[in-house]
């Protein structure tokens, strides 16, 4: 049922503005893919190109191996859940869900069956006769989902469908969407600017910035191995530091971070023939302790960078402690410490601490 989606060198211009630039993307059949980026980055345009609401200026679009570049939306085996839901206000819930089947001239008995199943799937059985105006935001959202899924599309497109819901409902719907996607096995292409949503639901994430794909990978890859400064900064928090190569041999590359701190990272991680680069360090990967052995203990010997620092600022956030560290060498770093136990270490501004940082947790970023 589900199909893969391929975009080959797709460019979309609106007048002089290039919304999408030379994007090539292959979305596997049955996967949950998220297009993640700030507003105006081109992610919605990408979705509209797949839906058929926009035609690319150049490039081709394929669904399940069939070219659909110039097919109108009503001829594509694709359905969309709109940000505003776009439920038909003059039709009941039942008629809204039946609309797509009516357009396909599905026999009446089958329409009845499939609409009932679709409403059950989104736990809205018994809401048949309601008008969209009589539903809550979450219920409208479910009707919009049922209306799209009942058509059994090969790909389901979702345009920020949770943005109008309150925070608690949003979290519940994230898990439910993921469950639904596994259950129906349809390829989902999901657009959002919310990194948490993307990490929670996606099999893979494409980070979109200025009409281009900055990075494409699993939530793990994107989080732990961001490719660009934009990707590192957009998802989670990151220390982004200008770094210069000092020496390199077979075992490792010695680098100096902005400020003066010298660390070692794997030789293979440093791009060949480059003197300076931007390095990303996630705050929670800096292991902080007042005892040297504890700061080191989680890592295998020889792969860990050890350095001393003074705590400049400390913010207690309950589950975590947020620290601003001034290393003895002169580099400033932010670090996050998990408060695993009430008996754990307590940090104060001014404390001297030892820090451990694994060589693999220094990520060298690509320069665009």
């Amino acid at each position: 049922m589900s199909a893969k989606v391929e975009l080959c060198g797709v460019t979309k211009r609106f007048g002089a503005f290039e919304a999408v630039s030379e994007v090539s993307l292959e979305i596997a059949a049955g996967e949950f893919l998220t297009l993640l980026g700030p507003s105006g980055c081109g992610k919605t345009t990408l979705l509209r190109l797949i839906a058929g609401f926009e035609q690319p200026t150049s490039g081709t679009i394929w669904l399940g191996g069939v070219e659909v570049t110039h097919l109108p939306p009503y001829r594509r085996p694709v359905n969309q859940v709109f940000q505003s839901y776009a439920l038909f206000p003059h039709l009941s819930v039942w008629e809204n869900v039946a609309f797509g089947l009516r357009m396909q001239r599905v026999p009446a008995a089958e329409v009845t069956d499939r609409v009932r199943q679709a409403l059950e799937l989104v736990s809205l059985a018994g809401f048949d006769a309601r008008r969209p105006q009589e539903l809550s935001g979450g219920q409208k959202q479910r009707v919009a989902l049922a209306r799209a899924l009942v058509c059994r599309p090969q790909v389901l497109l979702l345009d920020e469908p949770l943005s109008a819901l309150d925070a608690k409902l949003r979290q519940a719907m994230q898990l439910e969407l993921k469950r639904l996607q596994r259950q129906v096995g349809i390829t989902f292409v999901y657009v959002t600017h919310d990194q948490e949503e993307a990490l929670t639901m996606s099999d893979r994430i494409a980070i979109v910035n200025r009409g281009r794909i900055e990075q494409f990978g699993s939530p793990h890859e994107i989080y732990h191995r961001p490719a660009t400064a934009f990707a590192a900064d957009f998802i989670g928090q990151a220390n982004l530091l200008d770094t210069r190569l000092i020496a390199a041999d077979g075992s490792g590359a010695r680098v100096r971070l902005a400020g003066g701190l010298e660390l070692v990272l794997r030789a293979a991680a440093w791009p060949a023939g480059v003197e300076t680069a931007l390095v990303s360090i996630r705050p929670e990967k800096v292991h902080v302790s007042k005892s040297k052995s504890r700061a080191q203990s989680t890592f295998a010997e020889g792969e860990t960078n050890m350095f001393e620092a003074r705590i400049e600022e400390e913010v207690f956030k309950g589950a975590t402690d947020h620290l601003i560290l001034a290393t003895v060498a002169g580099t400033r770093l932010s670090a996050v410490v998990a408060n695993e136990s009430a008996l754990g270490e307590i940090f104060h501004a001014g404390d001297r601490v030892f820090c451990g940082l694994h060589a693999d947790d220094l990520v060298v970023l690509r320069v665009n």
Binding site: F53, F88, H90, F99, M103, C151
Partner: protein
Amino acid sequence: MSRLIFPFLAMPASPSTRLRLSSGLRVSRFLLGSWTALVLAFLYLPVLVLVAYSFNASRLNVLWEGFTFGWYRSVWENAPLLQAARNSLVIAGVTTVLSVVLGTAGGWLLHRYRFRMAGGIETLTAIPMVMPEILMGISLLVLFATAGVPLGFTTVVIGHVTFSFPFVLVAVRARLRGLDPALEEAALDLGATPLQAFWLVIVPCLRPAIVAGALMAFTLSWDELIVTFFTASAASATLPIRVFGMAKVGLNPMLNALSAIFVVVTVAFVAFSAYLKRLAR
């Protein structure tokens, strides 16, 4: 309560000042009420008098000589008047249908599609709403005469549609501006062709605007005199034309009866549209 809201009342106020204030309030309330009554009387008293005199047995409007249904009977027996009423109904009906079709299609076109001169075209369609009718009447007469089109039902309907359909268009445009643009896309996405999307989703959403526009078009056409005067033939003369002709000869109590019928029909019409509006809500 008032002490909290109006601190000046909390000042040592003698009972007399308070009395003056509340009596002032009473006076202003009385004045406002009288004014409202006066305005309503100005609007509706002539109509009521007219309806009352339509039952007057006297040929003169000034004296009451007893109750009669006679004038209604003479309206009913006046063949040319009935013919004119039928003409008016047919013309207003056809005008309404054509105005709804043109106004709705035009409104959608201007809303949905971007093309050169769209703004200019919109202004041009709006102008007949404010253009002096005498000007439109003369220009249409000249046009039909030059083109060799004989005057009749067709020419009257063309004249009426010209100034009626912009009202439908304006109502439809206003409604479209408030409509979620994703509705049409959702319909297309679910497999509807652009025509199906328009017919099955957009038109039902526009229904209140279309009904309002249609009522407007019907009323405009029903009591239009000047444009009709220039574009009608003797056979296609409408009720306003016939009444105008009769009034020139002299006021006839029959006209009172006819007007009373108009009043009843109009009130029914307004009540019906109010009912539709409530239904739409």
